[in-house]
């Protein structure tokens, strides 16, 4: 039976080949003793393309202290230029959003507060503190509209806040009042928010612990001011026990604009306890109400945990999901894309990020031509120093 399954898989794989052909990868930063690169943030928005520039932001730890670095390169170039973004004692969880014309907005946590600054190639605008006792920022930009969401300590609980941002040259500031996304009084932690902007409004999702286990909640606002009552994003199975525990887990939701008005969500889901974390997704064609949850990975990835899932989508309806798992012995990157009617492609290894060593923690984005810009962390072993890698996937068909 197993042999038949493998023969079937071998026959099917060529027909399911990834619709992107990846260029040879190269280092954004090479390996250095005692230096560890981290791609870990709310929404995993670590890479963006603006105009003809691609920018990557990450956290780098040395001796237990982290700082944030950004790197830029023209799309056609083979070398990134690196710039320190953060200051203070320690900083991390950075994200980036494209502002158009080669400009970007960066946000990160620094010494317990939230900071942001504009970046344009080698020129960084002044850092601005957006919020105190806040962490886990995420950003979205659409035309002149820019929003930031984050998790902020209030009355003993972290809760999700949103701010509209405005630019004055290279300076970013909050436009109007910072607001709660969920007006209900905080009862437990709200963490790891992500945000997407569409012409229909502002969509926010986050991890919510009020029910005693982590659920993913989603809400939407037409004007970005008043949000609807949050809805549960990850479908809840009936409880296995009325006595023990409160429910299954879910984590690290990411949102992106999909098509003209839609939103796609993607997250790690532990609804099946024999499969570790699985990758799930949902589509809100109207930007507001999500359809059924869809399992992204194929069955060959069952019985093994998926990690660090990242989402890329655009206004032309392209969607791709990438993650790492070690089904072949060590961590490799795997890619899947929707095939319609709730079905996803077979999970395809990213050939340039597979094989010996650890290839993990990916993030990716589309450019206007449909190229997939992919970054990841690579190391020989789990204890070894890391390097940050970059490659471009060219679309095979449009």
């Amino acid at each position: 039976m197993r042999l038949a399954a493998w023969i079937f898989a071998l026959l099917v794989v060529p027909a399911q080949a990834a619709p992107w052909e990846f260029s040879a990868p190269f280092d954004i930063t090479p390996e250095q003793p005692g230096v560890f690169h981290q791609l870990d943030s709310a929404g995993r928005k670590h890479i963006a393309v603006s105009g003809d520039t691609v920018a990557v932001v990450w956290e780098e730890s040395r001796g237990g202290v982290s700082q944030v670095t950004v790197a830029f390169k023209p799309l056609s170039a083979k070398v990134f230029s690196l710039h320190r973004v953060s200051g203070g004692a320690t900083a991390g969880v950075p994200v980036i959003a494209p502002l158009g014309g080669g400009r970007f907005l960066l946000a990160w946590e620094q010494d317990g507060d939230l900071h942001a600054r504009v970046a344009e190639a080698a020129v960084l605008g002044p850092p601005v503190r957006l919020a105190q006792k806040a962490s886990l920022p995420s950003l979205a930009a659409l035309g002149k509209k820019i929003v930031a969401v984050w998790s902020e300590e209030q009355a003993g609980h972290p809760r999700i806040r949103i701010a509209h941002l405005m630019l004055d040259g290279q300076r970013v500031s909050v436009d109007g009042a910072v607001q709660d996304v969920d007006v209900a009084p905080p009862k437990a932690g709200q963490l790891y928010p992500d945000v997407a902007l569409t012409p229909a409004g502002v969509s926010v999702a986050w991890e919510d612990r009020r029910e005693g286990h982590t659920m993913l909640l989603h809400t939407v606002s037409k004007d970005g001011q008043r949000f609807g009552k949050p809805r549960i994003l990850n479908e809840q199975l009936s409880k296995r026990s009325e006595v023990y525990g409160k429910g299954t887990g879910a984590a690290r939701v990411a949102l992106a604009r999909h098509g003209k008005r839609g939103v796609v969500a993607m997250w790690l889901d532990k609804r099946n306890f024999l499969e570790g974390y699985d990758v799930y997704a949902g589509f809100a064609r109207d930007g507001a109400r999500f359809g059924r949850n869809e399992k992204v990975q194929d069955d060959f990835g069952s019985n093994i945990s998926q990690w660090h899932a990242a989402l890329a989508a655009d206004s032309r309806g392209r969607v791709a999901v990438v993650w790492d798992d070690d089904r072949d012995g060590t961590a490799d990157l795997w890619l899947a894309w929707p095939r319609g009617a709730g079905q996803w492609s077979e999970s395809q290894p990213v050939p340039i990020a597979s094989g010996p060593g650890q290839q993990s923690s990916p993030a990716m984005t589309f450019d206007a031509a449909g190229n997939l810009h992919l970054i990841w962390v690579e190391r020989e072993t789990l204890e070894a120093p890391t390097r940050l890698r970059y490659a471009v996937g060219r679309p095979l068909y449009n």
Partner: protein, 214 residues
């Protein structure tokens, strides 16, 4: 229902006949006449203090089943964060017992209630180990002995924490000695303690140890 995974043994949360016990419906009866005790001269009298305690006990009994039950570390155990635990383990040259749990996790809750509630097991583990708790979904940072700063969730990636709870016994410098996932009984924890605290792991693996020392 029971099953196995490559990470360890899982035990059913159900009862012997396979059914899951239902939560007792909570009553919302009012404590009632306590207002009498707010009136002078009864206020503060032993009768009234007894009356208030009686109703307080009734309220707790009635509402206790509806209070939140989280799969956090078991109560009355001095669990530390990873960083603090590693510091303490090094300072005291003591091994670490690491509990990798998840908020709301049923098997963590079952293990807490059925195994960690054992006073002798509590005394044994407090005496033999520095206790560390890690939240499987947390973004809280910790620093590995290498100097790499990662989240608690990322520690799960490194430890291949396929499911929760995951229990690991570590050397004072953070190196893993043994790990096991799923519900563990008091006997299981005692067996691992004999294996780890007794230093048996230096010569054999756990399966061999248990086969020779059931």
């Amino acid at each position: 229902m029971s099953g196995t995974s490559k990470q360890g043994r899982f035990t059913s949360l159900g009862t012997a006949n396979g059914a899951f016990p239902l939560r007792r419906p909570a009553s919302r009866k009012s404590p009632g006449r306590t207002s009498l005790c707010t009136r002078s001269p009864l206020r503060g009298s032993p009768i009234c203090r007894g009356f208030v305690w009686f109703w307080l006990a009734i309220v707790l009994l009635v509402f206790a089943p509806t209070l939140p039950v989280y799969a956090d570390p078991p109560e009355n155990y001095p669990f530390l964060s990873y960083d603090d635990g590693l510091k303490q383990a090094r300072a005291q040259d003591k091994r670490i017992f690491l509990y990798f749990g998840r908020l709301g996790c049923g098997w963590c809750d079952k293990t807490n209630k059925e195994s960690f509630s054992d006073p002798a097991l509590r005394a044994l583990y407090i005496n033999h180990y520095v206790l560390v708790y890690v939240d499987a979904e947390s973004g809280k940072r910790l620093t590995l002995p290498s100097g790499e700063r990662i989240t608690e969730m990322e520690l799960g990636v490194r430890m291949k924490a396929f499911a929760t709870p995951l229990f690991a016994w570590l050397e004072p410098d953070g190196k893993t000695i043994a790990k096991v996932a799923g519900v563990q009984t008091v006997k299981d924890f005692r067996d691992y303690d004999r294996f780890v605290y007794g230093g048996e792991y230096r010569a054999k693996d756990f399966k061999q140890f248990i086969a020779e020392n059931p």
